[in-house]
Symmetry: C2
Subunit: 306 residues, 2 copies
């Protein structure tokens, strides 16, 4: 049994109202992998990097026990690089630089040791690479979670729809749910999207929490109100990683476990935004996570007895 995550391992340069960074480690698979590593022991990444990535950066993943055999290093290549600047409200950002570099020809390798994959996270990437990864697994995983974004709906909608037919859970934000479904009401959007393939839909609403639709039920998860959101980069990936990491740990997939998985994902995302990049996700303790989960419990709990 293992949890395989395919996605970018990359460099980010980030500017927020609180400061700016040089090139630091980023990428969807990095954030998701780190988050998942706190909940499940057998996390394996599939990605592609350049020679510039370096051992120190790779150590960030390895030191969390993450298997990087599936992270291809392209000789003489440069890693994917994104630079962005967040506005004052932290909810919108400008992309300053996108250098695809080795990602432009990403051909996902699935090592033999990854064929025990039971849980697969198809991180935000071109739908074609997501599909290739799925096809290169000899057995269909027990649970496939797909994360995507508006960009792929704009430029590769047909490919995206093909992958959607093969996944169990889709995670997107509210604007993307509206775009994909053509419906403004999120209830109607969920009805449309759940007919496209996924059995469950998670709508991420950032500071407003998340909604889970599936099994004819709805769950509304709160977001933890934070005094300071330092850097939102990677929060969605940390959420997805925490979500699938929890499900890999508890094994059985049902609505009750999915709800808890969303709370764990939200907790990991709430840590992620407290520092730049992956900094906060590198050194959490079990006590940190337990305490944060309790904050979510207190935050949402009410008891009406009549």
């Amino acid at each position: 049994m293992s949890l395989v995550i395919v996605g970018t391992v990359a460099f980010d340069a980030i500017e927020t109202p609180f400061g700016k960074t040089d090139k630091i480690v980023g990428g969807a698979a990095t954030f998701a992998g780190l988050a998942a590593s706190y909940l499940y022991d057998h996390v394996k990444l599939i990605s592609v990097i350049g020679e510039d990535f370096g051992d120190d950066n790779m150590h960030i993943l390895k030191s969390r026990g993450i298997d990087v055999e599936g992270v291809e290093i392209v000789a003489g290549g440069k890693s994917f690089f994104w630079a962005g600047k967040y506005h004052n409200d932290m909810n919108s950002r400008d992309t300053l630089v996108t250098e695809l570099n080795v990602l432009a020809n990403f051909d996902p390798k699935v090592p033999a040791s990854y064929q025990d994959c039971t849980h697969l996270l198809l991180g935000n990437l071109t739908p074609q690479v997501q599909m290739q990864t799925l096809e290169r697994l000899e057995q269909k995983p027990k649970l496939v979670v797909l994360d995507t974004m508006n960009f792929w709906m704009d430029v590769a909608l047909d490919d995206l729809k093909k992958v959607l037919l093969k996944v169990d859970v889709l995670t997107i934000n509210d604007a993307e749910a509206r775009q994909l479904s053509g419906e403004y009401s999120l209830v109607k959007a969920a009805d449309v999207i759940l007919k496209m393939g996924p059995k469950y839909l998670i709508i991420k609403k950032g500071e407003h929490g998340a909604l889970l639709f599936g099994d004819g039920q709805v769950f509304s998860a709160p977001a933890l109100p934070l005094a300071d959101v330092f850097d939102p980069t990677g929060a969605g990936d940390a959420f997805a990683g925490g979500f699938i990491g929890y499900l890999a740990k508890v094994k059985s997939v049902n609505f009750t476990n999915m709800k808890n998985a969303i709370i764990y994902g939200s907790a990991l995302a709430s840590f992620c935004v407290e520092k730049f990049g992956t900094e906060k996700l590198q050194h959490l303790s079990a006590a940190d996570i337990k305490e944060r989960i309790q904050q979510f419990v207190s935050l949402a709990k009410f008891e009406i007895s009549e």
Copy 2:
């Protein structure tokens, strides 16, 4: 013991993507009073209307057992009238007409029979009228809830700050909390606002639910995802009415009861938006409300056992 609500009783003309109305009954006190009437028996309104309001419209309030002795009828006067058009997203709207009419000289009358007021809702109105109402009660009510909006922060901030010193609970939306506090983070905004007078702050986030701050705690209430939001007019007032109506019923004010009150307020608001104006709030059954509350319980419930 009674619950007194001061606010507008008025006419609205509403246009949404689903249709449009002629002049129909509206006003903050109307929506709040109707909502409260499902939870508490002794609801009393203070407002001002013109002769044009008419017995049929007054019957909408009276038939719910609402005391209208404090609703002054100005001979020859015309009732406050607002016309607005909602955009496709239902979250933004244009005001087409605002005719203050009798509201321009509103001098709130507190009948002797209202002096048993234990719970007071100062509905969205000029802070001066809110203050006058409070001053005309011989005994300070057990609980004073104030609803206001950005307009009063723009044109009457000093008066608003004076009333804030005398209230227990403030209800505003997220943009207003940011405006009033000068802080973007809602956690920091709450810290600032809770130093301005209120012991509790409720931040209404519409389709994203509500946050309650106070007693060093935070509660995040979900909003019920709805397939169709027909007309958002009055939802905030129905929320405030349901909120204070529940607290009048259960009598004691503590964080646990405040949380439940928010769920009841949210439930009443969720009914409100399902039809134009007050239509849905005129004929709810106890079973309707019980079922809706159960939907909120299911929506938010999760159990993490470790």
